[in-house]
């Protein structure tokens, strides 16, 4: 911040006019930020210490909600499912999207292939969920029809407790297009001289990828891992629609935190408890992001530093 000099006369008035103009221009967002972000977060914190059925109003109960949460089997179940989902899907999506980007980077007809991979990421998740519930259908789904041609009797994917979560992850992989586009853009920015130097060192394509490409795109990997993880922690629509007959899927293996939060707030009419869940979820996401940043300090390479 600029040092505050003693102001007088015209200078001071100009300064003030500039402040006024600046805050006037950003004023829509001041209101939006306060009303649609700050206030709800504060309300959520307050509600988390209350018992709050929507029609009856909030009643202060201290830390009851948080204590109850510790002994709530459904809380631990949904948290566990969510952590498994994030823990598996983020590495899978990251490896696949970097691999595809590496293939795209030097290929002929890049624009076409990139468009094909990118397009599904724009498809509404609600539509994606019904498409895949059809593909994974046990009797007539395309997946099992294809398997049948090689003599495999495909399982009813979405009814099997071991296959339900992989099915949700597959839909996530289908939607990695935006990450791929970012990786390709980052790979295009890697200076050609670095590859030439690696050639002189006698590196093969895989070592060049490992020693040159990956370090150079590591800031983008960090960005993608963080945005994807924040998204995956909130996963809701896909499992909600994929398992519309049996909530959370077989044995509730795909019953996630956001779904449980939604149920408490709007189905069980426990807004106070839901708010405690929301705060715990927020803290987990922030802690996770913090850890990723800390770990990345050693792994991410910034040009010019």
């Amino acid at each position: 911040m600029e040092p505050m000099l003693p102001e007088s006369g015209l200078e001071g008035r100009n300064r003030l006019r500039q402040d006024l103009a600046g805050w006037l221009w950003v004023s829509p967002w001041v209101v939006g930020f306060a009303v649609f972000m700050l206030v709800p977060i504060a309300m959520s914190l307050y509600y988390s210490f209350t018992d709050f059925p929507l029609l009856e109003g909030a009643l202060w109960v201290g830390t009851d909600n948080y204590r109850r949460l510790l002994g709530d089997a459904d809380f631990w179940l949904t948290l566990r499912n969510t952590v498994i989902f994030v823990g598996v899907s983020i590495p899978v999506c990251t490896v696949i999207s970097i691999t595809i980007a590496a293939l795209l980077n030097r290929s002929r007809g890049r624009d076409f292939f990139q468009a094909a991979i990118f397009l599904p990421s724009l498809v509404p998740l609600a539509a994606g969920a019904i498409i895949f519930s059809w593909l994974f259908n046990g009797e007539y789904g395309l997946v099992n029809r294809v398997l049948a041609t090689v003599g495999i009797d495909g399982p009813p994917w979405l009814l099997d407790r071991n296959l339900a979560l992989p099915a949700v992850i597959v839909i996530g992989v289908w939607g990695i297009g935006q990450a791929v586009v970012l990786y390709v853009a980052a790979m295009q920015d890697v200076p050609e001289q670095l590859y030439e130097a690696a050639d002189l060192d006698g590196m093969g394509p895989f070592r060049k990828f490992w020693n040159v490409t990956l370090p150079m795109i590591s800031p983008v990997i960090l960005f993608n891992v963080i945005t994807m993880s924040i998204g995956a922690f909130q996963a809701f629509v896909v499992p909600f629609m994929l398992f519309d007959r049996v909530k959370g899927g077989p044995d509730r293996v795909a019953y996630f935190s956001t779904h449980y939060l939604f149920d408490n707030a709007f189905a069980f009419d426990r807004m106070g408890y839901a708010s405690a869940l929301a705060w715990v979820q927020l803290l987990i996401v922030l802690a996770f992001t913090g850890v990723v940043f800390l770990v990345s300090r050693k792994l991410v390479f910034y040009r010019g530093s």
Binding site: M1, Q18, D19, A21, G22, W23, W25, V26, P28, W29, V31, G32, F33, V35, F36, V39, P40, I41, L54, L103, R106, S107, R108, D111, F113, Q114, A115, A116, F118, L119, L122, V123, P124, A126, A127, I130, I131, S133, N137, Y140, Q178, V181, L182, A185, A186, Q188, P205, V220, I230, Q234, F236, V237, D244, T258, L261, F266, A274, S275, Q281, V285
Partner: protein, 296 residues
């Protein structure tokens, strides 16, 4: 962004050519895998119910049964369904999309101008705070927002889905601010010497020069609104107010026996506008993503 020529000369040994060919083959497989779900949705939507739900692998619909009248029957069956009223959901979605996109683009552009061009006191910290809000997941605030909108009397109307957009969005403000920072300041200064106010500079210089960036913001926000599911599900209470994404869910769960061909026809109708938009504005999409993630 011209495609680089494949490296030649020393590098073009037999083994590297083999690598290139296998990479190419792999890409073809990937493209097929990624497009197959969409293709299968469309193909299923063209078939009669008994053929959609059969174990045959026939990729293209049988011309004997997937006649024009069959296709019309499928799609008009979805469109004219009595319980799930897609025409009304389409209207609602368009209302929300138009109001929301207009508000989001305009207000984010103005706020971004304030951040990029006016060095007011408190600008740095407030901008940092703006970026920090991008980390807050919507589910965390959806409960209080419901209560808040209830106090405002908005629950049961479309307002919760578009009014907030008129106050800007953190990510779009960030995107546009980055773009404005890249526009030469001399233009503003010349205009100011000519007696232009901030208002004049914004409308006569910044907006015309940032049209591509504004298009990116509008495009992505349209897609966001079109695809949004959780917010409409929470804030909309009357069936007459539902949006297409919600309609799709209703259509899926309405009866015990899902007619797959009709469900896929409904899916195709919801996905088609997105695909058309993608083909019309492919470059804007790619540019927008690169701008959002590349400048961390």
């Amino acid at each position: 962004m011209a495609a680089e020529p494949p490296s030649t000369g020393l590098a073009a040994t037999r083994s590297s050519r083999a690598t290139r060919w296998s990479a190419h083959a792999l890409l073809v497989v990937m493209a097929i895998l990624w497009l197959a779900p969409l293709a299968w949705m469309v193909v299923t939507s063209l078939k009669p119910a008994d053929q959609a739900a059969s174990a045959s692998l026939r990729l293209l619909p049988d011309p004997a049964s997937s006649t024009v009248s069959q296709i019309v029957e499928n799609y008009s069956g979805v469109w004219n369904d009595e319980a799930v009223q897609f025409p009304i959901y389409l209207r609602n979605t368009l209302i929300v999309a138009i109001l929301s996109v207009a508000g989001m683009t305009l207000s984010s552009a103005m706020v971004a101008y304030g951040f990029a061009r006016i060095p007011f006191r408190g600008r740095g910290p407030f901008f940092a705070l703006t970026l920090a809000t991008m980390m807050i997941p919507f589910p965390v605030i959806m409960g209080p927002l419901y209560v808040l909108f209830g106090h405002l009397g908005w629950i049961g109307s479309l307002k919760p889905l578009w009014v907030p957009a008129w106050f800007g969005g953190a990510f779009n403000i960030f995107l546009l601010r980055q773009f404005y920072m890249g526009l030469p300041k001399e233009l503003d200064e010349a205009a100011r010497l000519d007696g232009c106010s901030h208002w004049g500079i914004f409308w006569r210089i910044i907006v015309p020069l940032s049209r591509p960036a504004l298009a990116v913001v509008a495009l992505f926000h349209f897609i966001y609104v079109w695809n949004d599911f959780l917010a409409p599900m929470i804030f909309l209470t009357h069936r007459d107010d539902f949006t297409l994404a919600l309609g799709l869910q209703m259509y899926q769960s309405k009866s015990g026996n899902t007619p797959w061909n009709l469900l896929m026809a409904a899916g195709t109708m919801v996905v088609a506008p997105v695909v058309v938009l993608f083909f019309l504005a492919q470059r804007s999409f790619v540019r927008g993503i690169a701008a959002g993630g590349g400048r961390e």
